[in-house]
Symmetry: D2
Subunit: 352 residues, 4 copies
């Protein structure tokens, strides 16, 4: 049973709520002898952090990581690495007037029904603050992957109806939308700001690319690399769909068009998205996922309260009008965690 753990071999367990003492993660089965500092983790947390631009919530958490265990004299020891980020800038009172209401599009209703109790402050455990543990542990996974020359990066390819058409990798971290298209960027930013001005929010699509994955990673028949990536990405809040390579377009293709031909110098196309039979082929792993518009908006909506009475609600608090730019960082983390996990599993079997 996984619940709050992810990974079979390289395994993380996240904990914490939006407005509790803090959020964090325990990483188990990390390699020993890896150089690891709190700065490695802080770097990725800062990329994820809210309040980086006008496109983001003003909740300005320091999000300061502390490594509690598993590192000695600057190196991992092979024992569990626990990382804690204290919550510091909570404004729980923002939530007191909605404590008996279920916010449309939020998990309030289902948490309450499932557990019979609900930490209403900022969504409690269902808050995207939980992803801090993912990003912190993802930073460790990325360090491992770097040693293996595996390179993961993600970027926004769609905001509302604006789609990216160009690709400049260097541009991604230079713009707050994290798109790789310099031309689309101002339009995407405008779409987000318009939604924000309208008290509303907007969705998007992110593409993830993983380079230099050795051939042979992924465990059929169930733990296909693509199935594990889908599982990890779909576990991120707000994600509504995922597709690999040609994706949904493959439905309208013929086999003669979709099959990637092979030559001694490599594949001639990548409709597969980097896996065949769930095992990496050595091509780039490429997938895309859609995020819904942020549920928290200040336009009044119909809902009910815990007594099943009809109510109107506007969701205050500090929220991004579009989650795509920060989902880029979270998706990279989930992809990195998945890759390290599957590489360890592949490696484990090679004992004779």
């Amino acid at each position: 049973m996984n619940s709050n753990s992810y990974g079979e071999f390289f395994k993380i367990t996240t904990f914490g709520e939006s407005h509790g003492e803090g959020v964090g993660v325990v990483i188990d089965n990390c390699v020993a002898g890896l150089e690891l500092s709190v700065d490695d983790i802080q770097f990725e947390l800062n990329r994820r952090k809210p309040g980086q631009s006008k496109l983001s919530t003003m909740r300005d958490e320091a999000d300061k990581a502390e490594i509690l265990s598993g590192v000695f004299e600057g190196k991992t020891t092979g024992t569990p690495i626990a990382i804690l980020v204290r919550n510091t800038n909570q404004r729980s009172k923002d939530y007191s007037d909605i404590k008996d209401l279920f916010r449309p599009g939020h998990a309030d209703f289902t948490y309450f029904k499932k557990f019979g109790i609900r930490d209403y402050r900022g969504g409690g455990r269902s808050s995207a603050r939980e992803t801090i543990g993912r990003v912190a542990s993802g930073a460790v996974a990325k360090k491992i992957l770097k040693k293996l020359s595996i390179d993961i990066f993600a970027y926004t390819i769609q905001i509302g109806n604006i789609k990216a058409e160009n690709f400049n990798r260097d541009f991604i971290e230079e713009n707050p939308v994290r798109t790789a298209d310099e031309n689309a960027y101002p339009l995407m930013e405008k779409a987000i700001m318009e939604a924000k001005m309208a008290q509303d929010s907007i969705g998007g699509v992110i593409e993830v690319c993983i380079k230099n994955v050795p051939v042979g990673i992924g465990e059929p028949v169930f733990d296909r690399l693509n199935a594990r990536l889908a599982y990890g990405i779909m576990s991120i809040p707000a994600v509504k769909g995922i597709e690999f390579g040609a994706g949904f377009k493959a439905a309208s293709m013929r086999g003669s068009e979709n099959n990637d031909e092979i030559t001694p110098d490599g594949f001639l196309s990548n409709n597969a998205g980097g896996t065949l039979g769930g095992i990496s082929s050595g091509q780039d792993i490429v997938f895309r996922f859609a995020v819904k518009p942020t549920s928290s908006i200040t336009i009044p909506k119909n809902t009910i309260d815990i007594h099943n009475q009809p109510q109107q609600i506007i969701t205050k608090g500090r929220h991004d009008p579009c989650v795509a730019p920060r989902a880029v960082v979270i998706a990279e983390a989930m992809a990195a965690l998945t890759l390290v996990d599957m590489i360890m599993i592949h490696n484990g079997r090679q004992i004779i």
Copy 2:
């Protein structure tokens, strides 16, 4: 480590290759006292079976199930249920001339690179015959769900560029495409037959609907019901993408449009696709997935052999021109297995 197992609580382990002795499954942690006969299993296997119409391969396996254990006097005993289907109609010689070639779009290349060895007969383990174990165990899961009044059904909504626009549930099992749209059916059939005549194949999209799931099923933060379903569905051969509720369309929506409002009588829409925060909300669970066109086609294509020399290949054997109609049955099985698993997990915690 899952590899050939699926499910954390209600757990299946499949085994077998396309042209070996047989294929099968072991189901662990099944409820005790469930009435179960081999006919329950055979019914679903027959729905999955090839050779049912001109749209399907002529490989006419009997696909006869045998229950080896776990059932006594017509009832499950709570011990492992092993089910075996012997392979009977293999024509391994179909494959002897491609035993050193990698078929484009197939898993030949990656299995060989991963394991250093490859059962080339009909794809070996990577064959869709493996899904017999899924469908057989899915039949057991469905029997359990029926006791809980939970209803799972799937249907083809797109073949090539032909999309379904109407819905008549009764029609699904009356046509070989398994579409619910009587008008689209002849067009879909035509699209498949045209591909077949052209020695080619074609893709499709399937929608799955699960009714009467009680509120509260799904274990955040990683074992969200939608994440688990995505994992299970993406583990089916040929699946290239999955989306829930509004899915990729949510990317171009605003929050005010996408959020499902709540009233004392229920939700006013179902853009979420039946889960909030990864937990079932009591609405229908609705998702769609895309299958690529069958990789096996008889149009010559470029490939390499195991010595990395360039070759031309046509993929003989007996293959469906479109996998969508049979993927309907497999998807229902994976959804049923996932549901039973997650319901047991939810139930397990309720001890005080």
Copy 3:
């Protein structure tokens, strides 16, 4: 959840009942490219088989193994290896007159209470016939260990009050008690035959020795090598206790006596039993376990029936008067399975 699976990486799932269609096992995550024939498996099954001497039950099952999957042209392919042994010599009618009675010392009572149903024929799933799956998969594990020069063997060191005091490894497989003490052997045999003549049964102790385990195997803090071995061995029917190295004697020792001193040439003693902190130290892994006297005896005993009414019972059927000689084979299998599992886990982490 394990239930009928054992191992985290090299994982087996056993199935089958004493008087059903058969018993078997699925092995997942086996190495690829290992030469494996049905004879490798049959060899160990024959060692486990009943009816080998007058010390054993006369139930003369052929116990003929069939490999259903995972092996191609004499080598493992890395896919699941399913092994089936059909039941052939069942005499279910032996059990019909006790079908409503709970046999003292047997699992009848608890299976019935747990599952609400019970396959009363020969104990059903609780029969030691289930261990065929363990021994069959253990044969595969042993083949892998042999490639690593790891050597596992077990032998009876106590029957009733007769304790072995000498050790001659070559003698173990030459006597039906499987003791390594030529002097103790006739006394042990006599103790078993006396119990048998008295319609009774008798217990014993077995020692297991594992040589050439490399240093570093075992995953603290919970998956210590000794903890995993204890788990595996205690899961064998009839086992009542296990101890490592000095074992229970360590309770009456002082630290100065118990600590194994270290020299450049190795340890000066092995009170630890081959692990320190749960990790193999390179010394022999040595442990002992006790098996209770067989529960099935033909001396009349008090019991109840399923209606909670007092009854007298004698347990007919064909049973060994002492399980120790055959437990030797089962223990070797469980130790081999555990070792391969833990070696794969240790190996998996070594990716940088």
Copy 4:
């Protein structure tokens, strides 16, 4: 893969080293709505704490627990409960002169060989301080079991050669040895003090009793209740053996003596130790385990350094001369964790 996690359903993950920032635990899949305060946890930590009497080390850690997550307004929410205990009274310099030496009986050697790196301060992760996470989470498990009227308690039954012969439950927590025998207590205390005065240490045996376990708990064939308990108890540092019910004595018994007869009013004896076929029978679960004498002693001993050179060593630091009294508390925790886990698993299956 478990490594630093224990439990399949009610799952804990411990982290932390003896002389790092702290030690702790994350509990996953706890019931929701359980009243839980930090005092519940502190109560058990105080029982485990060193420095409680002259029999124990003088390391006087405050061992102050902080609940970081999973509890809201005094009740568990069903989300992960993270508990942190900061290390405050480390004296790392005690260890600087042995940082290149391997202490006999310690895990220094194996950790160094396994991970290629070693936190030498107080044993790092292999320190018994790690068990704080077990005891803290065990306190939560005990609260759950109390709601189910299940009662777990342990007591010392042997120190060196002194064995308890009487049983007075009330006396257990009134004496620092935690024996239930008022007559044996002064002799046990004397044995410990004599070892301490001789710069030495001494071993012991602890018995654990679990009352009111409902019939039906435990999952054959591998996750037998006794196998899981053996796994959990053997994962505690210093434990060398475990036995259930008649235990090793069963080896010298006949079946007619060992089988527990059944009457309408219950079993007439408990040689089984509370399980049949690995499933609880409703009788008391009774088992015993042996702890070796503390490895850390100040009598000089032979060892080697990391360059494989011969050395002499005395192990300073602050250590108990006998671990039995505190092992009582740790064993109760492991038993409680195991019980809750297995009860949840049993309960999970009951869905129809």
